[in-house]
Symmetry: D2
């Protein structure tokens, strides 16, 4: 990438972040609705802190932080960098005010511009910048999921954006695609950017299996609900059962009441539940229980990546500004990319031969490699250029505020 | 009070509320820093809800709520009125935006004006209006204590207002004032407004005792700290000891670090701890432990009221806009009113013959008559006209985010 | 009391403790069913520790503890004595085995005998011994309430003793006894033993009022339950309402199911609920709510003591070995003593002029003087000689595993 | 196996269970020291319940439960069987007394004998019996770990058995054994008993790697402790760091004080920490952190099983009655079996093609397949005939009360 191409990419992504915050008031940007989520203002500050800390501090001749306190306030979890503001207290930061965080962004952007314009800019600078941009794209998705969660808690059920109306689109029938067993290669291949946790590319042995042609729909999931799925302990992992009972879950996170028919809270406000669309905002626990009830299972990450690497990367991404899954209307193996993240049965661990990057950047991915499960393929809240076959997203089994859905798989011997 | 006098009082108090919010951004007004505190925006809405619910709904010919959802959102604890928004979730209400709550205030004010202007306005209307104004004054004080708590959690340690500088003022020596024993009367007397919990006026027998001439100072309290007061279980009630250990308290709430000398967080930001000023933001537990260490005790509420009823109501109140206690520089029994609330050893209970008001208004005071302790005399955050000798404030023994301080008493036989 | 009379009293009370443990296995004696309760074995050890620590250590010429570790294990809350075993972990002490604790008792008894036989035994020794015996009687009552709680948790619903059958005994009608207002004296008077918290005797002013002739019965309380008492927030203190909702209380602690009619768990196992008997095992919250529903209130401790001091001390005490309240079948002001402890509306605080005893013994009562409410009159689990008009028992408002019941009072002006 | 061989195996294993309880009093057997552990009496009842429920109920002509209430009390987690006694309340069951549980065992044993003697006994009966015996062996190990935990909480630090003295045995040097990469088969092979979760045997691809010749010793782990291992967040997974900070861990579970040198609590009481022995009672978090600090990693389960299947099954098992790991004194790849369970980096999930057994038995293993990590090889508390190369034990990452230790692995490219 030429220096000017990098700078152009930089401004495009940084502007997109601000554009996502446009529909929101300073109040909306300030509040944290649960410990797992962060305020929008914090996302705006933290993504900027990332460039300031990992790029400017290293490359600016006479580095001065924009504001000393921001160094702590906007650090997420990088112990090697120093003190961190306690995560559950991010929502108390009414100061700095939102305009001051915008100033912080502009200041860092200007300093980044000067750095990237320098003739001598080196590979490490460029690759740290690219890392920062990928990091920013991840936070773009979190901004959408976090504001959705906040708004869902509000009795006024605010709209993030005006809901558009889409014609009814009955999904294609669910079909099963066969995959042979054998040794396959997974992990990042090629030249483009990838995270350290996607490497090294390595061999895995997969069994003969089938994958469902598309995501599970709301209509299909509703059958599970109506069949008493949430009342039958035999369908649930032991800790999943505890989770649904303690939290009194009896349907996906954003489904609402059912007296006047099922509704769903979306970024366009409360809408009737569209049975054609993929079910979304389910936890690993729910995805696993649904699969068991159906007589199938979740794919492994190797199975998923093997299938995905044979597909074009296209789908319903955040670039559409729809921010909601869409129905599967084409034949073939579809919705692999976009719409919803797909839970796999694989827990998050290091690939054989993996070693984390040196220094604080090495904390990016590797310190979460326990008690998390892998999601693949991106969602309607993911920027399209952010995704690739080897991309590994991960969340705890109870997480459901992400755009997470279900693709089924089954062993070939089942048929 | 004439109708126009009442309306004039109404506008004065309602304007004061908005004036207190002036230094704050919409972000500052939105956030809740702990379950005991409420966001400023919620205070603005709730005090308005009070007039809408208890006055307008009863007196307007064709009552329509300003916004149906506000009826739930801004209800604090009145079960008889209907559903309530969960207290710990008040900080999630980024919508309605602050300007909409200001509109709500203006709308209700205008409707109140029309009501109060009516020739036929009756005693009950007028007395509910006065109740609403007193209620609003209580929330004015809470706005100050809640914003102080929020700002204290922020690493930027923001100022609510520019700190003024006061000349050093060494306090007068602590002296003991004698009071004879015998039957006294306490409870509200006379014509003015009072809450139901101040009645009926009744007899109590008090013992011969002494009261300290002024509040305990920071300097005196620091001696207790330096003497290891927070490390000696013999000085603490059993549950107080658990409280300081679990919460790791070793000094009053807003005292800070001591490496470079003790500092104190105030509404004017972080300032050096002024040893001349009264200690403030102590819990009942701390007030009780300090008194035990000193060899004294806290006064009973009857003792306090008996002494206070012989004093002029004057002192360092919120009207000063100082919002911080001041040193006692006069002789005699001083600081009875203003500066800090004074913990008494009396738990909050009904006076003999007490019956709460009928209907939802009856929930105002009586449902809190367990496990709370009485504070008397108002503080630097209390409007001066809000206080009277019989005024009973009450908080749980662990509460320390109020402007609460210590006046000592002792039995006459001690001397 | 002569030395031999004291020793005879000592053996009588110490033997009674062991007799209470007779129906229990070593397993029954070892387990702790909740943090508020203690295992029987711990009670046996702790009452012995009390004599060893406060008497033997002071009076034996060459004191050696029976077992060094017991000094920590059996200390309840005396900080001045040294380390304590964590209260919630008392149930983990499977060692020492029960016989070793019996040996500990015998050893300390023998050493106490030698001490009390000495010609030179002094007043302080004798009064500490008497304190130890009164302490032991308190634990006799706790043994009964703690084993009742443990057995209530067991699906086998074991009997502590064979239930005797009593003929049906309809209670006398509830009548109201008038008491004039005026200055009365309360607090311990006379020569016998009393705790420090019953002194000094002092004056209080009481209002004209009425007291109910007897305790509230199960039948009367059931009317409150059937009338939806547990579903109406207007009847409950705010924190009481939270308590019944969080803990899902809808009836007194040991009432069971109601499908086949109400049953009650007793020390004689599960029996049909006898509507003639006093309601028992209610919390302060429940007593207060019942009184509000009835249109009455709880008595103050001064009112109670004033009435009680005019009565003979007789009633249904632990000496009967019935361990359950009995119906009120006589006319007059009855059941003042025995049957159930009677909640008063008074919180536990120091009498005017009170100073705790010096040293560790001073921790006995005074460190609990916050957030507890007074109960008066003893119960069917209290030894008769342990009670007196001035006796002050105290528990937190939520406590209901004690034999606590309800006597109503009301202001004279109500009539 | 002939009927008489099966009955002989049955009595041998059932007797062994009772023998393990012999050193314990009824009190020791009754108490539960934490929710993860169970009382010994409950283990004795539950293992018996297993035969009664899954064998007798199915095969006895006119089945009558020994005691109806035991059906609920001794059910662990089998939802398909009916109600369960709440796990954290297992320690409240002072009744039935221990002798009654022994009677229950004898009764079920006698009925099992009659069943197994029948000429017509079928394969399913025999295989359910074998399952019950394997289940009982698992509980034999839990009895040892649970009693160890209970005793560790007791200030008297009781001995389960008299400690024997072993001559000092310096371990062999740590060496690395090479393994080639390629497709291997893992999962149960052959005729003997295995759990459903060990099947089907299937292929996995493993990378070239090395495994350490023996377990990590106390001496080696102490170097990690002394180097500040518990103070450096860079060494710990993010949730591991939270875990050690919240629980204030700074060394393995049963290490004690270090003022007078490190000691260790064992089933033979408190002994000096033997630096020659394998470190034991470490969590997955600690095993992972140690490996990272060392510059290695934990093996995967496929790597482990591949190596183990080339070894003789012999080692320091429960049969020795030593119940503590022993030093590695031989050359080669040693301690694969016995001494301590070995944490792998693999999370617990279904093998490809796995389907759980039908009915309640299907709940045995499969419902725990989330957020647990695999341990392999058995320990000094495991019966030797219970283990095999394909055996999969699993516990949550924080579990440390099992005899769990560390074997290191590393990628071949590291060298």
């Amino acid at each position: 990438m030429t220096p000017s191409a990098l700078w152009s990419k930089y401004t495009e992504i940084r502007d997109r972040t601000m554009a996502l915050a446009t529909p929101l008031s300073a109040e909306d940007c300030c509040v944290q609705s649960m410990p797992d989520a962060s305020p929008i203002k914090w996302h705006l500050g933290h993504t900027t802190w990332f460039f300031e800390t990992f790029v400017l501090e290293r490359y600016e001749a006479s580095f001065e932080p924009f504001h000393k306190a921001f160094r702590v306030m906007f650090n997420s979890y990088y112990n090697a960098v120093g003190e961190k503001h306690s995560r559950p207290q991010r929502g108390l930061l009414t100061r700095p005010p939102l305009p001051a965080v915008r100033d912080y962004r502009r200041n860092v952007d200007e300093r980044m511009r000067r750095l990237l314009e320098r003739p001598a800019n080196d590979d490490a600078l460029r690759s740290l910048t690219v890392l920062g941009l990928n990091h920013e794209q991840q936070h773009q998705e979190l901004m959408l999921t976090d504001i959705k969660h906040l708004f869902s808690q509000n009795p006024l059920k605010p709209c993030y954006q005006t809901p558009e109306s889409y014609p009814p689109a009955p999904p294609t029938a669910l079909e099963w695609h066969d995959f042979e067993g054998g040794t396959v290669q997974i992990g990042h291949a090629g030249e483009g950017f990838s995270y350290d946790n996607e490497s090294p590319r390595h061999k895995e042995y997969i069994q003969p299996h089938q994958m469902a042609s598309r995501l599970v729909t709301n209509g299909e999931y509703l059958q599970f609900v109506d069949a008493g799925g949430y009342e039958d302990p035999a369908l649930w992992l032991s800790e999943a059962w505890d989770w649904i009972k303690i939290n009194q879950h009896s349907h996906p996170l954003y489904w609402l009441g059912k007296d006047a028919g099922w509704m769903e809270f979306t970024l366009g406000g409360v809408l009737p539940l569209d049975l054609n669309l993929p079910v979304v905002h389910v936890s690993y626990y729910e995805a696993d229980a649904y699969a068991r009830w159906f007589g199938a299972r979740l794919p492994t990450e190797a199975e998923w990546e093997h299938a995905a690497s044979q597909q074009q990367i296209s789908g319903n991404f955040a670039n559409n500004n729809r921010f909601h899954p869409a129905a599967a209307v084409s034949a073939g193996l579809v919705q692999i990319y976009g719409d919803t993240w797909e839970w796999t049965q694989s827990s998050y661990s290091a690939y054989p031969g993996f070693y984390p990057a040196q220094g604080a950047i090495g904390e990016y991915n590797s310190k979460f490699m326990v008690n998390q499960y892998l999601l693949r393929g991106g969602s309607c809240a993911t920027p399209s250029e952010h995704i690739r076959p080897s991309y590994r997203n991960f969340f705890p089994a109870h997480a459901c505020w992400q755009f997470s859905g279900i693709r089924l798989a089954r062993d070939i011997t089942m048929c």
